[in-house]
Symmetry: C2
């Protein structure tokens, strides 16, 4: 294991056994037809809390308890990390406080509350949320659980990579390439560690929205590059301004490439996952499929490509109208097809 | 095996091996919270063709070829059976002709065409479709593949039941109850056969919309009862007027109960499967979950309950607005909760 100390992966696996879902590695021939190549879908949308983040949050809390740290935890986030921390905290009996700006996704706030977390929103804005969070940390003696800049969190996310390698082997498939959505970098850092340890021949490739391409720029520059302001991609969980320092240390060593995809491709890939693979993926989770749609990945036909479908925490009813044109495109394509339509 | 001759189940399993997906048996703690009980979800939405029907169609075509019958096949259906026959026919090299009334679901017609079937729609109405179909059968020397009144089709659907029993055993769970959507009866007939053979202690219970309750009435009456006109439930794949004769012979012997659920519950269960289990289930596939939502199933807490999520062939974008009130209900419930929302 590398210098950031993600610890022994088997120990992490043991710690999380029975507490997280071993999500299925699915194939969808119908999606494959659309993509023109075969992909394996690591369906983290079926993970507890609706997203891979449960792995990292739970590992961090359990590892803390093993070290004798039973402070309540605080998370500063609008999104998937909040849901994961709320659920992991409930399960481990640790009180959770979540600082979530007003105007964030109401369904995520609702889910966090339903998990029993104290949700702090009044007067919280995207700008002052860290300030509010730090004040609470001091005042209440809480432990800050960072969504990605934490070795225990990265180690938890690594189990996604362990499972992909193991599940592919069960089906006698040798994983050649793993495509991973990139936001703050915790997921791809963990997966890179796992793949380096268990399938060192395989490539791990990141995928970002064109409008939130800080990691792609960082990899080219050889140092952490920030984008000027918070991105507003439809892939909302990827709207970070920069990689965390710890993920960067792994990514710079392990990840060969970070691709960027258009907003159009992300929406089309989301529709394809809904309609063809029947997975309620969130747009961020569709980034890898968007890269395949754009034919950005060179693949030998006999090699296995895995796409990490990172989560499904999306308001499907609000998002549906934004995907309508892809459905209509599919209908238009088939109306002009070559088969008889008359008796 | 009973008198209808669904054949040796192991032979069917062998015939379909590698040609159909062994769909996962998933659990969703988030859905369990909503339901107040634990359920296992047999995710046939991930089956090839988007629904369990691929099993029966493929088994019928392959069994026919084994008997030397290589005629083209004809199916008269607007829906999931059409998609399955189109795909199974392409795969086995048998030409398929589908009689689909005008005004049916355009996405299903598009998918059938994309699979290479000849789709006959011009001048076809829900009323004359059988007449059109029978004329084509004679004229072109085709084989009629009935969606449920066929022993090979029922035998194919039985593999859903075999897999549930086998997959539950892997997790040391003993299946006590299997809830199955009921339309024409092919799925529940097949599953009943499989469960009787492999888990005879378990109950198989059917679920229908209140507005399409012919099977529930039939079971009470001890004979096949038809409803007056074609039902119009949101669970569209369950909109049949009566059970097929062959399924009825199995159901009358094997199925202890057929529950009925309201349109409201079906919509709410569909939303719950989308939002909590992240499965793009079609409303018909949500019938079992609707029965659990309505607390119609008595369960010992240590027993395993499986819900067959029969398919995912739905226009999600068109359906989304009809599910909106359930999302809003969830938000309203959480807004009035007991946790602090102030710093």
């Amino acid at each position: 294991m590398v210098s950031i100390g993600v610890g022994d992966l088997d120990k992490v696996t043991g710690r999380l056994a029975g507490r997280i879902a071993k999500t299925p590695l699915l194939s969808s021939p119908s999606l494959d037809d659309v993509l023109g190549t075969r992909v394996l879908l690591k369906a983290e949308c079926f993970q507890r809390s609706g997203c891979f983040k449960m792995r990292g949050a739970l590992n961090a809390l359990l590892a803390g308890l093993e070290r004798g740290d039973d402070r309540g935890v605080l998370a500063i986030t609008t999104g998937n990390h909040a849901l994961a921390v709320a659920l992991a905290a409930r399960e481990t009996g640790v009180p959770a406080t979540l600082v979530m700006p007003q105007g964030g996704p109401p369904l995520k706030r609702a889910a966090a509350r339903q998990s029993g977390a104290a949700v702090v929103t009044d007067g919280v804005t995207p700008k002052n949320r860290e300030e509010v969070g730090y004040a609470l940390l001091e005042e209440r003696g809480l432990r800050w659980l960072h969504p990605f800049n934490d070795p225990d969190v990265i180690a938890g996310q690594a189990t996604v990579g362990l499972e992909i390698v193991e599940q592919a082997a069960v089906h006698s498939e040798r994983i050649d390439t793993v495509l991973v959505p990139v936001g703050g970098g915790g997921l791809i850092a963990g997966i890179s560690e796992a793949v380096a340890a268990r399938a060192p021949h395989a490539r791990v490739i990141g995928v970002q929205p064109e409008t939130a391409d800080h990691a792609a720029r960082s990899l080219r520059a050889g140092e952490v590059i920030s984008v000027a302001s918070r991105p507003t991609s439809i892939a909302d969980a990827a709207n970070h301004v920069e990689l965390g320092e710890l993920p960067w240390r792994v990514i710079s060593e392990r990840v060969s490439e970070i691709l960027t995809v258009s907003e159009e491709s992300i929406a089309k890939a989301t529709w394809a996952l809904w309609h063809h693979a029947k997975m309620l993926a969130e747009p961020t989770a569709a980034l890898p499929v968007a890269a395949v749609l754009e034919r950005r990945v060179d693949l030998a036909s006999d090699k296995a490509l895995a796409c990490v479908i990172s989560g499904g925490n999306v308001d499907a009813i609000a998002l549906a109208p934004r995907l309508e044109r892809w459905r209509d495109g599919e209908l238009a394509a088939s109306a002009a097809d070559r088969y008889s339509s008359t008796a």
